[in-house]
């Protein structure tokens, strides 16, 4: 709604006309003349004046009712029949009710039942009024227009929120990926800062991997899930000096939707290599009705509650990633009991 204030300094009655003039950017006298002329139209000008005054003094509902009455009076004066005026008034009241809610219905919010009823009733009356064969298109047109008005913004917002959600998920996926690769490599580089050869090879490796991810598919070259897991295991073995025992029962062709499973499994292997304190890790993939991957070590285990919030490995790279992919991750561990990460994805 436009910003409107009563003008206390330049006023004849309540400052309505000069306030409106300031808002419209015209001379107050012109506005006063218009009101005078409108007053002749069934008193519409007078009612409208009071409506604006009510608006200016923050009595919004009074303003609305008066405004609708004023327009009804105007239409009457223009020679519309009683039913036409009633219809138009109801439609206007409905529009106002919608406008008051910001012109839309938020997803999940309540439908403005009152506004819709007012609009539909008004439209029906109006159609009855015009409703001869002479205007066959007004009826459907009015209904469609109204629906667009009420539902359109809602649909638009829905789209916008969907895009937002996708953006957020995309960001989480990127964060998980950066955590798994770049941050891990940087940590290794820091630890081996005094070994130039090792640092160089780590950097080259990371560069290759990052390029592959940015410009190619995420998990390249592997033809099947078992192959992809074997690649991941080989990587982790090379980076962390552990031995990974791989087993599988059944296999599936490698496709994009299996990528999160491979990446989550890789992260679980990395965690096992880094934190378990043992050098052997077991990975088992089972493909039948669904896909299950188990990553297990007999190491130190940990207490879930004592893992700091900012360690994203488990929460983001494994659990969050599987959730986003439509699967789940279950971590079974306790101090001294080793750790098993179970990844599941429906087929």
């Amino acid at each position: 709604m436009p910003h409107f204030e009563l003008n206390k300094h330049d006023r004849v009655l309540a400052g309505v006309c000069s306030g409106a003039a300031a808002q419209l950017g015209v001379d107050a006298t012109v506005v006063r003349l218009v009101f005078a002329v409108l007053a002749l139209a069934g008193g519409a000008g007078i009612v409208l004046y009071f409506a604006l005054w009510a608006y200016g003094t923050h009595r919004r509902w009074v303003a609305a009712v008066l405004g609708v009455l004023a327009i009804a009076g105007l239409l009457e004066a223009l020679g519309l029949s009683g039913r036409g005026v009633a219809g138009a008034t109801l439609v206007l009241a409905g529009l106002f009710a919608v406008l008051r809610r910001g012109g839309s219905v938020r997803p999940g919010g309540k439908l403005p039942t009152l506004a819709v009823i007012l609009l539909v009733t008004g439209a029906v009356i109006l159609l009855g009024h015009f409703g001869s064969n002479a205007r066959p298109f007004i009826g459907p047109g009015a209904v469609v227009g109204m629906l667009l008005f009420v539902v359109g913004p809602w649909v638009w917002r829905l789209q916008e929120e969907r895009a937002d959600r996708i953006r957020l998920e995309e960001r989480a996926a990127v964060a998980a990926r950066v955590h798994d690769s770049v941050l891990q490599t940087l940590a290794l580089v820091q630890r081996h800062a005094d070994e130039p050869a090792r640092v160089g090879s780590l950097a080259r490796r990371q560069e290759r991997e990052l390029r592959r991810w940015l410009y190619g598919s995420g998990v390249p070259d592997a033809a099947s899930l078992a192959d992809a897991l074997a690649d991941a295991a080989a990587d982790v073995e090379a980076m962390h000096n552990v031995q990974i025992e791989l087993a599988n029962s059944g296999d599936a062709p490698m496709e994009e939707r299996l990528e999160p499973v491979v990446l989550a499994a890789r992260e679980a292997m990395t965690n096992a290599a880094k934190f378990s304190g043992v050098r052997e890790v077991s990975v088992y993939a089972e493909v039948n009705g669904s896909i299950a991957v188990f990553v297990r070590d007999r190491g130190a285990g940990f207490d879930r509650a004592s893992v700091p919030e900012d360690r994203r490995g488990l929460a983001e790279s494994i659990e969050g990633r599987m959730r986003r992919a439509g699967g789940e991750a279950v971590v079974t561990t306790a101090p001294g009991e080793g750790t098993e990460v179970e990844l599941r994805l429906p087929r």
Partner: protein, 211 residues
């Protein structure tokens, strides 16, 4: 008592590695690099356990087993290899090996596996357990002996845990069984693996021209 072992693998370097690993734990009485070398050697030395590579230049590990089994039925075979196709591993097991372990196995586990095989038990690595679960998948049975062609739910459970990297002791604790019972399940699976005429097993074997 140290077990008497013959080592069959065509890679000299690998044999040296295993020899070093097992020094003191077992007695390695002979080494061979091919089927032709291995068969007469094993017949003569009559070891308790033969550590057998799945692939040899003049035939698979099953060639060694076939050449020895009749004359020396007491010799136990344990297949030991890096990573092989399921059909190769299953073929060696069906030919008579008591188990399959991968070369990534730790020393303690390898010594333990040799001991088990010598005692007549079966030794399944996670890898083999996965293969077997695959080969005995539900709903693909065609004729034959029903008991031999299917795994019981318990056997499946045990195999799945082996595949996930659990040891017998851990499996026993998890399933509230004794270690002996777990061993019995694994041996039963081995028996089915060797005697079943299950379609997948037969097909794999046929592709390798064994039957």
């Amino acid at each position: 008592m140290t077990r008497r072992i013959v080592l069959v693998d065509d890679h000299e370097l690998f044999r040296a590695g295993v020899r070093g690993e097992l020094a003191g734990a077992v007695e390695i009485v002979g080494e061979a690099g091919s089927v032709a070398e291995a068969v007469p050697m094993i017949r003569e030395l009559d070891p308790e356990v033969v550590l057998l590579d799945v692939h040899l230049p003049d035939g698979g590990g099953e060639g060694v087993i076939a050449g020895v089994a009749q004359e020396r039925p007491g010799v136990k075979f344990l297949a030991l290899s890096v990573s092989d196709a399921a059909e190769d591993v299953i073929s060696v097991i069906r030919a008579g090996a008591r188990g399959y372990v991968t070369k990534t196995i730790t020393r303690a586990e390898l010594v333990d596996a040799i001991e088990r095989v010598a005692e007549g038990d079966a030794v399944f690595s996670p890898r083999l357990a996965g293969f077997v679960l695959d080969a005995f998948k539900d709903g693909e049975r065609v004729g034959g002996d029903e008991e031999l062609d299917q795994l019981t739910p318990r056997e499946r459970e045990v195999l799945q845990l082996i595949a996930r990297g659990y040891r017998y002791k851990e499996i026993a604790a998890r399933l509230h069984l004794s270690v002996k019972t777990v061993e019995a399940h694994v041996s039963s699976v081995l028996r089915k693996l060797q005697l079943s005429s299950r379609h997948e097993l037969t097909r794999w074997a046929q592709e390798r021209r064994l039957i």
